[in-house]
Symmetry: C2
Subunit: 617 residues, 2 copies
């Protein structure tokens, strides 16, 4: 079938065996690709209770059906796995250039199980595959790993997805990195590390993807580009990338500060787009994306002593926040330096920064002391220890070893009530939006299958005042179930193409145009029908839920720590707000067709979505 190479490579690192799986028509029709394939394959493959870091732990790397074509913003790589951080279903995505190269190399995806005896990497090229020795790469940072694989294979055009020391050391929020883009969240890097798989490198010489209807596809791409050019979000992302969000969330009083004790960071203006403009070297981009939302940043000597010479590809909004909000200090230089450090060591910046902010609060409250931190003084406003803590997390040294299992596990280990200061859902640390100032955002954090993730159902209605599908009061509870579902299903439907999540958050691409791209690429007529796509999004989201239900998750796990539900925001534009968790969930479950008591999808809903196989017997 066009649009797919119809080859998913299965690798068992324990036995060093390979198998090729072809995609059958029913799978393609019902799950379309990307996140659809990801959840279905993971659901089918993993027995409940599987240890994500054990022999049967599985990593599914997928390119979408539009990767490698000239459709815009579909170059992301998506990784599906059971998370060692949450114990549930997980998906994590990285931009860059890896996914198209995987397809040029002849594959739509790679599924890895087993544990290699020695460090290994996979080398995929022109339909061939090979397990190669990575002993020499073990311990290396991500940039060096890219360089040395390219040198070993004498081809500087090879694309690499790899882990850094954090993944090797099974840090539960270690990511997978490709050309300094991160599939950061949820610990895909730890799963890879547990398999002693340092990298997957790919390269292909056939650089054309077969399309079912080339003319229709070209027309749809034209339509997509026109849509971008007339969208205000396109202009904002092109200018500053996600950095433009800093003022928005601070002015809305939802920039989580001092471990979510406050909602506005003192001196946030020093992190505004204008300030990042001054340190921007140039815009960077993923393959076939005209937005160029990336930023190469560099602190020059003129600007700063301590951070002179620091550079990174980024930092993104989330990373800017992760190392300023949690520790309560705005320091643009640190955001650049620590962004690069996390890219080198292979760490998720959100969980790393958030775990550090959690440690700061414990320190301020006397739950931990200098003795625990090895002498580091974790006072809010003092960001001096941040770089060292990040390093300790990646190498599991000192107090870093405690934080390396994530805030929730660290809180349990520390005891003395520490756990309640871990700001997370299902073990995944919250990103840079205080849900007390954005209730549909909060509802998404609560119900996203991967835990508190902003990209599973971003609510631009609350952050940017987007009027689609309807205008909302960000503090209100009313209709937030409906809105959260809308955002979540929309995200899921676009992610069958592994579209960049910035695109739906800004309404840059319509379901109609996306449907044209999908059907012209694959020849599957139903994909052209927006109603079908919406049903597909819902199907995916419900199957993800059922993966978690099978693992024992339910309404009890759709829960914030009490700070967010009982401590009113003390100041700023969200002053006085809490998350009305139970009311929001009641409404949401009803809208979803899920059992309000248990949070489990009803059998009728599952059958309606063609998920009868997932109904509990």
């Amino acid at each position: 079938m066009a649009g797919y190479s119809n080859r998913i490579l299965r690798v068992n690192l324990t036995n060093r065996t390979f198998a090729e799986q072809t995609l059958d028509e029913a799978l393609i029709h019902d799950f379309a690709g990307g996140r659809g394939f990801g959840v279905k394959l993971l659901y089918d493959d993993l027995k409940p209770g599987t240890d994500p870091l054990g022999d049967e732990g599985e990593l599914i790397f997928l390119a979408g059906p539009l990767a490698g074509t000239n459709a815009q913003s579909f170059s992301r790589t998506k990784i599906f796995f059971k998370s060692p951080l949450t114990g549930g279903y997980f998906k994590s995505a990285a931009g860059g250039h890896w996914a198209p190269e995987l397809r040029f190399a002849g594959f739509d995806g790679v599924i890895v199980t087993g544990i290699s005896e020695k460090p290994a990497y996979l080398w995929l090229h022109d339909g061939q595959y090979e397990i190669k020795d990575a002993s020499y790469l073990w311990g290396l940072d991500c940039d060096d790993t890219h360089t040395l694989i390219r040198e070993e294979m004498r081809d500087p055009n090879i694309r690499v997805a790899c882990i850094g020391p954090a993944g090797e050391n099974l840090v539960k929020f270690a990511g997978v990195f490709t050309d300094r883009r991160a599939a950061g969240r949820g610990g895909a890097g730890a799963v890879m590390g547990s398999k002693r798989l340092k990298a997957i490198a790919c390269r292909g010489s056939n650089r054309t993807i077969e399309l079912a209807d080339r003319a229709a596809f070209a027309a749809a791409v034209k339509e997509q580009i026109k849509g971008y050019q007339t969208n205000s979000g396109f202009a904002a992302f092109s200018a500053n990338g996600t950095q433009f969000v800093v003022p928005v969330t601070n002015l809305n009083g939802m920039y989580p500060t001092k471990n979510f004790q406050e909602g506005v960071l003192r001196n946030w203006q020093s992190l505004s787009g204008d300030e990042f403009d001054k340190i921007r070297v140039r815009k960077t981009q993923c393959s076939v994306c005209m937005i160029h939302c990336g930023n190469l940043s560099k602190i020059n000597k003129i600007n700063s002593g301590r951070w002179a010479g620091a550079w990174s590809e980024g930092p993104e909004y989330e990373t800017i926040w992760s190392f300023t909000g949690p520790v309560g200090k705005a320091d643009i230089g640190l955001t650049v330096a620590v962004d690069k450090l996390c890219d080198d060591l292979g760490l998720d910046t959100i969980s790393a920064g958030s775990a550090i902010g959690f440690a700061y609060e414990l320190y301020e409250r006397g739950i931990i002391t200098r003795k625990d931190t090895g002498g580091l003084a974790l006072h809010f406003g003092n960001n001096e220890p941040v770089m060292e803590l990040v390093r300790q997390i990646a190498y599991r040294e000192g107090f870093g070893d405690v934080l390396a299992d994530g805030s929730l596990a660290a809180g349990k280990r520390i005891g003395h009530g520490a756990e309640k200061y871990a700001i997370q859902v299902k073990g995944l640390e919250l990103p840079a939006y205080d849900p007390r100032g954005a209730k549909a955002h909060g509802l998404n954090f609560l119900t996203s299958p991967i835990g508190a993730d902003h990209n599973t159902g971003y609510a631009p209605q609350e952050v940017f005042g987007s009027p689609f599908p309807f205008q909302v009061d960000r503090f209100a509870v009313e209709r937030k179930g409906e809105l959260a579902k809308w955002n979540q299903d929309l995200t899921a439907l676009f992610e069958v193409g592994i579209l960049c999540s910035f695109i739906p958050s800004q309404g840059m691409l319509s379901e109609e145009t996306f449907g044209k791209l999908m059907s012209a690429a694959t020849g599957v007529k139903d994909f052209a029908d927006p109603a079908y796509l919406w049903k597909l999004g819902e199907r995916i989201f419900n199957l993800e839920r059922m993966f978690n239900v099978r693992e024992g998750f339910g309404r009890k796990d759709d829960a914030f720590p009490e700070r967010l539900t009982s401590e009113p925001m003390p100041a700023g534009a969200s002053k006085g707000q809490v998350v009305e968790q139970e009311a929001l969930l009641d409404d949401y479950y009803k809208v979803r067709g899920w059992d309000v008591k248990t949070g489990v999808p009803m059998a009728a809903k599952l059958r309606e979505l063609g998920l009868g196989f997932a109904v509990k017997r």
Copy 2:
């Protein structure tokens, strides 16, 4: 004329102007290329007394006339300049892939003068040239500079020669680095830094070098390859690169130890080829060289705690020595870690290690104390401070700022007799051969135009027992003048092609075969005549001497510190030896046709060599 593009690019960074210089036939005939062009151009361009770090300071980057062809081992880049470390003529060379790429980009060389207002880099491609902004690269290490230039130009095949922080900070032994190969010695990096020139990047799409006689050239290359295959040095270099020298010099009692106080390092066996075999990842190579003498080394966790994960491309023999002999401790892990650190920061390993050993001796003698070193305890046998000292040198912090001007200048600044412990000639720190155990080696250190350099007239007769041109007793004074001249002129003649210096040191290429390559490439018949080539070598060496004479150098500057001439080697296979400096020089000057009193070439000798223009009037 074939074999040359006949284009040398002149760039003035002050005025941002370019000029193209064509090579005239007389220059080609009399100086042939490479080191011949280098000394002639530098001699003509630089007024005596020029400040090497000033506006008129000049850097000449040359590719040889055989670079980019399929002749073996001619891919080296040679840089000519007045050294800020010695105040005299200097040449420094790096392997890798830059020189061929420069020729493919359409140029035989680049001459840079002036000082850019802002950090800049040069971009040469397909006959075009451009000065580009390098503000964003300033402060970056050498590897990152390579990566980001390739990313900026969206071409991973670009070749880069650049400086690191050491060059930017005008460290007088900062080098120029290309793909982790160093033109390390003499401070080319400082000159580049003074010009605010971060890098020269090149790329060409025409990858064929025009040859005068393609058939004759192919036959000569065949002859060259046959010569390699039947040479024992080829086998040794292929297996271990220069690492095989460690046992040789220790067993000969000439491995300089504890700042040249001893000649054998305790536990040197832990630095033997067998030990490096264990940490070798793979062999690496320069363009078009079948030797693959390079080593990618990596310390695995299994082997070592402190240095776990350290890796480098190398270390070479000289680097192994630089951070073991001077500080008196054999530690294979440190050699790897510090090799990479020097490659990153852009430092010459020989001068850096040697300067550190010098500081150790001052510390042990109480001439400097913990107060001077900022708390570092520089006891022989304690290599703990080495990495930090290297970093301080590159950034000119703390005591590193004192050492950053070289041992001799540091000794003068420190006072209290420190200067006499600076083991150098003309300010250039000695490499890893104690001349008390190898007198022709010593004579070469004394008289090499660049100071104590091993590659200007390496004496394999003394180190490996090579029988050419005659067998010698390494301790004897007799015939060492003749031998030093032979080695020096031979090296100079091969360096018109910028042949790798390992080749003549092992007798891997005859003058006859080299002559065939040179004449077939260029069409200049005289190049095929070994007698002409020998004369050419002598011509070059004498003009280099005259460059220095014009700067005020003479016999007084051909001098070792008194340790080497008056302190007999205390133990080992060179026990009891000193360098008989004056007797050796008397003999050498006579053989050279130089005035024995002043060390200046006689007018008759200069005229005989076609250097009448250099005779003092």
